[in-house]
């Protein structure tokens, strides 16, 4: 029978078992995985492209540090830690909510209406819809960079630092998720807002992956206390490495990543809800 494969995919489970959130999530994610693999060649070249992109950024950073011997008061290995933490956080955020980047496309094509007439939150459907998985290449490279930095950066570990090193990539991922969410929500008001929104997401990644001390003072403050990009990697790195921060980013801000992530996510979720409400209020 032609249809035996899909039918069998649920084998082993009790056919009468109620559908839990976990079962649903598994189905959605596996559908996404299989969609990706439908274009195997394109998927592999995308992964390779993303690794190459990460590598280019790394080379850029290396070129700077190699020529000035210290970048924002950091050695190469220390810079690599900032870069690694920021890259892992960004890659995770992008993987989860990168789809909101093309929100204006989703709105314009009418796909949003299809999502709205299903009994699931739109955000969950977006997070598990098609095309971000190829960005896994970026994550692989980021993890490699982070591992290398942790090996070479001469860190004197204590339990607090270890805890911070574990929290930081996750809090950073949440900060980037929130930025992506905000960027998506913004496109409900500014239909051509993709480039503007990218200034916050990709711009935020750029700032996050370099030593904050190299930034101009007002920019330090803006990217620490308004858009918490330096809290993603630089500030926690100061704590982990036992360094003092510049005037705009004191070392104690290293512990602000998680609270900032919680606050920013909350705000951006509210903005997202307002955006969906705006859409149902105004129409396409």
């Amino acid at each position: 029978m032609a249809n035996s494969r899909a039918i069998r995919s649920g084998a082993g489970r009790d056919p009468h078992a109620p559908v839990t959130n976990l079962v649903l999530l598994k189905l959605l994610i596996s559908a996404r995985l299989r969609s990706q693999l439908a274009y195997r060649g394109s998927f592999l070249s995308d992964v390779a492209g993303q690794i190459l992109l990460g590598l280019t950024e790394f080379v850029e950073l290396y070129a700077i540090v190699h020529n000035v011997s210290s970048f924002g008061g950091m050695t190469f290995a220390q810079t690599l830690l900032v870069f690694g933490l920021a890259s892992v956080a960004f890659a995770l955020g992008d993987l989860l909510l990168g789809e909101t980047d093309s929100m204006s496309e989703t709105i314009r094509s009418g796909k949003l209406e299809v999502l709205l007439v299903r009994p699931l939150p739109v955000l969950l459907q977006l997070a598990t819809s098609d095309f971000q998985l190829r960005r896994v290449g970026r994550l692989i490279f980021a993890l490699a960079a982070l591992a290398a930095a942790l090996l070479f950066a001469d860190i004197t570990w204590d339990p607090a630092k270890l805890l911070l090193a574990l929290i930081t990539p996750l809090a950073g991922a949440a900060i980037f998720c929130a930025l992506f969410l905000g960027a998506g929500a913004m496109q409900f008001w500014i239909l051509d807002g993709r480039q503007f929104a990218n200034a916050f997401t990709y711009g935020g990644r750029y700032v996050a992956s370099m030593p904050g001390a190299a930034l101009f003072f007002p920019i330090q403050v803006f990217f620490t206390f308004v858009i918490p990009a330096t809290l993603v990697a630089y500030a926690p790195s100061l704590v982990i490495l036992g360094l003092d921060g510049p005037a705009g980013i004191p070392a104690w801000t290293g512990w602000l990543g998680l609270p900032a992530a919680v606050v920013l996510s909350g705000l951006m979720l509210l903005l997202w809800r307002a955006a969906i409400k705006k859409y149902t209020g105004a129409g396409g």
Binding site: A2, N3, R5, A6, I7, S9, G10, R13, P15, H16, A17, P18, V19, V23, L24, L27, L28, A31, R34, S35, A38, Y39, S109, G110, K111, E113, V114, L116, V117, R118, P119, L120, P121, D130, T280, G281, A282, G283
Partner: protein
């Protein structure tokens, strides 16, 4: 209790319109103005009107995609926008131009996901899926990725997807647009059977008069945001004077209309191709196509013929004209 209840429903949009070189002025467009109707469970209603008449706006308000500017909507006992997710479990929606299937996956892979979204255990959705697949003849292309399906195949898949969770109401926006005759007919047969067997309420918008004739006992005509007609299709034809046109090609030319015998009530409309092609209009409620053809055949040999249904846009125009007078 009605499954759809709409009272004094209105929707307006603010659009910006250029005023001078740089300035823009706000302008209010009334897409839907104070419509009232209700639909009982098990009814089949055709919702028709010209492009821009307010059909899609109404459908968006019924499905919870759009908030009304004023008035009241209740669908399956829910207030659509605030209770959107609860409503989504009770209704099925097919947007003719948009897909709700997983584009890159084989068609059959969409159904387990949709079943889970509606929290249906496997024992619940699978028999339903097999039933739908059989009735809609999905078997031969279940393993084909959705993006490779023909429009007719995909549309059958879409309708099956919208019906998987056994909704009380299915709303179809232009379901037959772009389909060939056979696909259209299959879809109509299926929808009709679904309504008869499961009591599913049907609301569809269409430009195709035969969709309405085959499926709907009741027609709502919307024009310029207001309901211009609400009643049976036969009544619509009476009001608007719907006529069918038969075009016959004869084997030998007949140069005068008088030489062709026609039954009472049929009107000769014109001669083309030097007497070969004749068109004859008649009221389908009074005369059958067979009677007209038999009469013509008695005087001339017919080589070919085609039948033209009354154009829905034309009907609506006529109707709106007469409503205004």
């Amino acid at each position: 209790m009605p499954i759809i209840e709409v009272e004094e429903l209105s929707r307006e949009f603010q659009v910006m319109e250029p005023a001078g070189r740089f300035r823009r002025r706000k302008k209010t467009v009334h897409a839907v103005r104070g419509i009232d109707f209700s639909v009982e469970p098990g009814e089949a209603v055709g919702y028709i009107g010209a492009n821009g008449a307010g059909k899609s706006t109404t459908i968006k308000m019924l499905t919870g995609v759009l908030v009304p500017s004023s008035g009241r909507v209740s669908v399956c006992g829910f207030n659509p926008v605030p209770q959107r997710k609860a409503l989504a479990r009770k209704i099925g929606v097919v947007f003719g131009q948009r897909s709700q299937l997983w584009w890159d996956l084989p068609l059959q892979d969409s159904y387990p996901i949709l079943g889970a979204m509606h929290r249906m255990p496997e024992a619940d959705w699978k028999p339903r899926f097999q039933e739908l697949a059989e009735q809609m003849d999905l078997g031969e292309f279940l393993t084909t990725p959705v993006r490779q399906l023909s429009l007719g195949q995909r549309m059958r898949g879409e309708v099956a997807a919208a019906l998987l969770h056994r909704p009380d109401l299915i709303i179809l926006d232009e379901p037959t647009i772009g389909l060939d005759m056979i696909s259209k007919e299959k879809l109509r047969q299926f929808l009709d059977a679904e309504r008869r067997e499961n009591g599913t309420t049907l609301l569809l918008t269409t430009h195709d008069m035969s969709d309405i004739q085959r499926l709907c006992q009741r027609v709502l005509v919307v024009d310029d945001g207001a309901i211009a007609y609400d009643g049976p299709l036969t009544g619509l034809a009476d009001v608007a004077g719907a006529v069918r046109t038969m075009v016959v090609d004869l084997t030998a030319p007949v140069h005068s209309a008088d030489l062709l015998s026609l039954p009472d009530g049929a009107v000769h409309q014109g001669i083309e191709a030097e007497g070969i092609r004749h068109s004859v209009s008649f009221d389908p409620s009074k005369l059958s196509a067979a009677t007209v053809l038999a009469a013509i055949s008695s005087t001339a040999e017919v080589a070919d013929l085609s039948l033209h249904e009354p154009d829905i846009e034309h009907l609506v125009r006529e109707l709106y004209g007469s409503a205004r007078r």
